[in-house]
Amino acid sequence: MSNYDMPNENELRYVERRARLLHAANQVGRQVTSILELNELLPKMVDIICDAYGFYYAGVFLIDETGKWAVLRAGRGAAGAVMIAQGHKLEVGGQSMIGWAMMYRQARIALDVGEDRVHFRNPLLPHTRSEIALPLAVGEKVLGAVTVQSIEERAFSEEDVLTLQTMADHLAVAIHNAQAIKALERANQQLLQAKTYEALTAATTQAIHWIGNKALPITSTVERMKADLTSGDIDRESLLEDLQLIEDSARLIVEVKENLLGPVREQQPRPAMLDDVARAAAAQVGILPDQLKVDVMRRTPLALADTTQLVRVLGNLFINALEAQATHLTITVGPAKEAGFVALDIHDNGKGIPPEMLNNIWAAFVSTKPGHTGLGLTACLHVINQLHGRISVSSQLGSGATFHILLPAAPDHHLPDVTAEDMNILLIDDDDRWAAFALDALKSLGVSAARSLQPEGTPDLILVDEALEAMPVTAVIESFKAANRVHQLVVITAALKVDRVTAYLQAGVRNAVLKPYTVDEFGDLLTRR
């Protein structure tokens, strides 16, 4: 090989350096498009620049909100960390090279920095012998500047300057985008706060007006009654009606309290058999067995729900259906299309919901029905949200409405370590899906159990379902009282309500407890009895 073919040492260094620069430029290009967080992007940039060129130091300054100062946001190594901690900043248009580069939007090089009168002598970077300051600009806007420093005098070739400025331009675009996104996020946050405040104010104002309006007849009626009583002109019928007016107005206000506070009560989710909970809710609002059809699809898991709150939700929906002139309700329970959820659909054959009302029905204090709080569906939405479920409605005017509820499926349950041998239990219940489950569950626990609607045999414990289709639970309690066995009764219910539990205990039953929907819960019930 001749001397002519052999690249000399300088040429080799040049080629190598050029390859490193191209690699660095590539890295910069990749980083600026993938990282929008400045605190992450800027330190990476200074590292890439220093590593690729073997420079002593690199730093990125960004202009602050006043527009007067460029603040160091990223700096190489320990010197950079100290300066950032000190809040190092340089004046835009000041004597520093950074200040000059930003002012004139041009790169500036000091090849022998010791003699450059504009160079800022930085004791933390004592070995700097040459420096280049590159403006960071997008269009007409200057965002800051980059400083690159070397321990070599005359370290920057024309090609270096060109490549570094190209990198700085890419970086400027990335900074501009990141700042724009931050500004957008801030604006969005402010808008959200404003909207939240606006919604809260509107809701509170609406609530105050609503309650005030309901209270109006109370004050007016009291005033009228006082006048009547003072005049001695007493119309008994009229006075009774006045008292009724006061009672009705007060009841509406109390209902608002119940509807607002009810859903806020702490929820205690547990595995629940939704079809049974629906039957319990139907029984509580007085829906007759022949008005209700419940279909359960195969392999329907239990749902995770607070059954007392769920009974409240379903009760509200049933009452709405009856008020919309529904004569029949169809409930379908099955695995949801979305994995991990159970679907509960409630269809009624009432008059349906007008299309213009469909978007409004979840809003508070919205009701087309006189004497209603307009909070029932708001409460339903709140309860279902708290249970991490979803509720929606579809309806065609004249063809009824269907409410779709999704609730999380309960995890599978294992058999508990409870054996209650020699125990004899009588279950007072209709022949339904829950009763079948209960008999299986008791059997798996080693308990002898039978189902009936009458007092029979000599059981150790009698469980009676509160939501009986065959007869009211109060009739069962009376018949056991007559047989002198009421103390053996435990009422099981999907929804524990203080007034009813008190009445059962006063009638002499042993206890009233939440209805078990898993073998675990049955085990607990037997242990606690």
Binding site: K214, L216, P217, S220, E223, R224, L245, P354, E356, P370
Partner: protein, 135 residues
């Protein structure tokens, strides 16, 4: 003044009934309707034989579409005024709404009453009907 006929249109049944009783106690014959549509029907039905002397219209109630509307009472006001331009009308509202009050007056309402003391309403009705009598 006594025996004059008043129409109340308000979807708040208890509020309407209370006002009806107070006005009846003051000697007026009072009929109640609970929506714009029903109010117009009752008013029209009475026009020939025994027309109303005054109307009290709630501002916010179900409009002619049947849905709750903000300011639905104003539409009913215009329709009643078209049927009987001389009819004194009081617009009722649960709270102060200056813009709505202005619009009510522009549509021909004689007064705008913020619901509260019913005796004040009786006084207002009495004044309006006296004015009507002197016309």
């Amino acid at each position: 003044m006594q025996g004059k006929k008043i129409l109340i249109v308000d979807d708040e049944q208890l509020v309407a009934r209370s006002m009806q009783k107070t006005l009846a106690r003051a000697g007026y014959t009072v009929q109640v309707a609970y929506s714009c549509t029903e109010g117009l029907q009752v008013f029209e039905a009475a026009q020939a034989a025994a027309p109303f002397d005054l109307a009290l219209l709630d501002l916010n109630m179900p409009g002619f579409s049947g849905q709750p509307e903000n300011g639905a009472g104003l539409e009913l006001l215009s329709r009643l005024k078209a049927l009987n331009p001389g009819l004194p009308v009081v617009v009722l509202t649960a709270y102060d709404e200056v813009n709505k009050a202005r619009e009510a007056v522009l549509r021909g309402a004689q007064a705008f009453f913020v619901k509260g003391r019913e005796q004040a309403l009786v006084d207002q009705v009495r004044t309006l009907l006296q004015g009507d009598a002197s016309r």
